[in-house]
């Protein structure tokens, strides 16, 4: 992994300047940052609600099943849903990355 040259024009530095690459980074950030903030907030809502408002969470909602258990169960589906959306998005990012790499290898062949 240390075989990379540090000259000004490495494949890495050329790609880094590429507008398509900048777009890829923006697109990733635009999903991963808010999605991470969301799942962290959703996750901590459970211990906070259970710890500070236990009476509220003890209320039966569905037959004998209370709000605390239903919320806990919903965490699993929340995690699966975010994972699903992420995989859908990541498929598009893979395609973008492939285009960038293909363009880079054809460019460097011309030099």
């Amino acid at each position: 992994m240390n075989q990379t040259q540090t000259s000004a024009s490495t494949p890495w530095s050329r790609i880094a300047q590429h507008p398509q690459y900048q777009e890829l980074l923006r697109s990733k950030r635009a999903f991963i940052l808010p999605a991470s903030l969301f799942f962290v907030a959703y996750y901590f809502a459970l211990p906070i609600l259970v710890g500070w408002w236990p009476e509220l969470m003890k209320k039966p909602v569905l037959g004998p099943i209370n709000a605390a258990y239903l919320f806990a169960l919903s965490e699993f589906f929340m995690a699966w849903a975010i994972a699903y959306v992420y995989v859908q998005k990541a498929g598009k990012w893979d395609e973008q990355a492939r285009q960038i790499l293909a363009k880079e290898s054809s460019d460097s062949a011309h030099h």
Binding site: I15, A16, W52, P64, F76
Partner: protein, 537 residues
């Protein structure tokens, strides 16, 4: 011979067969450390799940729910949601930038020797704590299961587990370890689904009757010796204000932080992403793992509340035996034998996974790159060192597990998660996302995070407390003083300390070379350009 022994022997023979098969294919370092990067997405997903669903989850959580109801289920939730951190933040960049260990990612743009030395220390610390916990659990379990055989004691059981794991790792490498995990994950899921079905059959497959029973459990309270009726679906039996004088809710949040951020710093989970051909497969494998792990933890509802309602808390022998006891009550001795053998297989597999991540880190990070400056020309010597390390790690763990066999197992696992979250995760995240992150920052983050989590646990109620003289053995606190830090889990404080040390270290001693290489690391992490490929040896 009891059925439990036969089933256990069948597992041992099958896994040894895999080890022999894998040993023939282990040619070269990439094959030994990363299974030749030949594992497919679903296989690695099962293996990640197998590495993760330890005895602590299978035996520990079922027991926790059986005794403390909903509060035990909180662990289940944290253990799954944590995988979003792995999926969204860590798995793909790590796969693209690294080779065999977590430290590869850090060493990419930082000064390799100090960073690898510290990362190796933290990897081995986390793995050893985790491993000793598993082995103590195995000792206790085997002693309970095979109590009719006179020569089986806690010590011989610990030694047996230690020897098995060394055999898997030394001869079979990552390929054998991976397949042991896959088989174990399938066995564990089968056992859990079947046991859950038996619980539901007991309630005529009516969720309403099941949850109704869980909300009115009448039993003899162990403290007051009075008959009580409690709703086990209600939160608060373990972490509530009444049970903990108001501190429990903070402990719950602190535990949540450690689970959420510790998973993405566990070395034996991270190395799994090097066994697949590319970042896309790494992603697919996390998704598979999330499906399996999520389903498993939802099913702990039936194991835990099932044990609470059918056996009742006052009839559960010890909290770690709730699931096997439930299996015996509902499925008879044969099913009890199966579940017990699965529990034992679980421990064995997890311990093998931990051993290989610790020995890979020592051989690749410390031996090759710190001692030999990364100029080792013969890759076989790296494998040889890893094999020797596996022997040493096995020996040390056997010794520690025998010495510490009365220490609480959950405390050791908590320590492993806390160290992983406080030392490893901050430096992984900053290395991927922060341009100004420097070598000083990484070393400071690893060292301070490691130290902070260990010190905070040493002065926590887990180890400190004043017991009345009649409390003896495992229940007695190691240090007979009032705890200085009030929470049992240090995460809420030690993780911010780890991040702070890493950030301050980077700001105090910036590193232009590391900043200059950030672009390269980012391109490689995000596009996979230059990443290690399947047939790289």
């Amino acid at each position: 011979m009891t059925p439990a022994i036969w089933m256990f022997l069948a597992f041992v023979v099958a896994t040894l067969g895999i080890t022999v098969w894998a040993a023939k294919r282990n040619t070269g370092a990439s094959a030994y450390f990363a299974a030749g990067r030949s594992i497919t997405g679903w296989q690695n997903g099962l293996a990640v799940a197998g590495d993760y669903m330890s005895a602590a989850s299978f035996l520990g959580i079922s027991g926790m729910i059986a005794l403390y109801g909903f509060d035990g289920f909180m662990y289940s939730v944290g253990w799954l949601v944590a995988y979003l951190t792995v999926l969204l933040v860590v798995a793909e960049p790590l796969r693209n930038a690294g080779k065999y260990t977590m430290a590869d990612l850090l060493a990419y743009r930082l000064s390799p020797r100090p960073v690898r030395a510290m990362a190796s220390l933290s990897t081995i610390t986390v793995s050893t704590f985790y491993m000793v916990a598993q082995m103590i659990g195995a000792g206790a379990l085997v002693k309970l299961l095979l109590k009719d055989i006179p020569w089986i004691t806690t010590n011989t059981a610990i030694i047996g587990v230690g020897v098995m794991m060394v055999v898997y790792v030394v001869f079979g490498g990552m390929l054998a370890t991976t397949w042991v995990q896959i088989i174990k994950a399938i066995l564990l899921m089968t056992g859990t689904i079947f046991l859950s079905a038996l619980v539901m059959k007991h309630y005529g497959f009516s969720f309403e009757r099941f949850f109704d029973a869980a909300s009115h459990i009448t039993y003899l309270d162990s403290k007051t010796k009075l008959e009580v009726t409690r709703n086990f679906l209600d939160p608060g039996m373990k972490f509530g204000d009444a049970a903990t004088a108001g501190i429990g809710k903070w402990d719950l949040v602190s535990l949540g932080i450690a689970l959420l951020f510790g998973t993405a710093g566990l070395p034996h989970i991270l190395v799994r992403f090097y066994t697949v051909p590319d970042a896309k497969t790494a992603r697919v494998s996390v998704v598979w793992a999330m499906v399996i792990i999520g389903s498993f933890y939802i099913l702990t509802t039936f194991l835990g509340f099932g044990a609470a309602t059918i056996i009742r808390p006052d009839h559960i022998v010890t909290d770690n035996m709730a699931a096997p006891q439930l299996a015996e009550t509902l499925g008879g001795p044969l099913f009890f034998a199966f579940i017990s053998a699965v529990a034992f297989a679980t421990i064995l597999a997890v311990v093998a996974g931990l051993t290989i991540s610790a020995s890979a880190s020592f051989a690749h990070d410390f031996y090759s790159n710190v001692l030999h400056h990364g100029k080792e020309t013969n890759p076989d010597s790296e494998v040889l060192v890893a094999r020797i390390t596996a022997f040493v790690v096995g020996g040390v763990s056997i010794f520690l597990a025998i010495q510490l066999q009365t220490v609480n197992v959950a405390f050791l696992v908590g320590l492993a998660f806390a160290v992983a979250a406080s030392a490893n995760l901050p430096v992984i995240v900053l290395s991927i996302f922060w341009k100004r992150f420097s070598t000083t920052g990484a070393v400071a983050g690893l060292a301070v995070g490691l130290l902070a989590s260990i010190v905070l646990i040493l002065i926590s109620p887990s180890l400190m407390g004043i017991d009345p003289p009649e409390v003896v053995g495992a229940k007695r606190h190691l240090i007979q003083m009032n705890a200085i830090f009030p929470l049992t889990n240090p995460g809420i404080l030690s993780i911010p300390i780890g991040f702070l040390a890493a950030i301050l270290g980077s700001l105090l001693r910036p590193e232009p070379e590391a900043e200059a290489k950030f672009e390269e690391l980012q391109v490689r992490a995000q596009t996979g350009l230059g990443a290690e490929t399947a047939s790289s040896h």
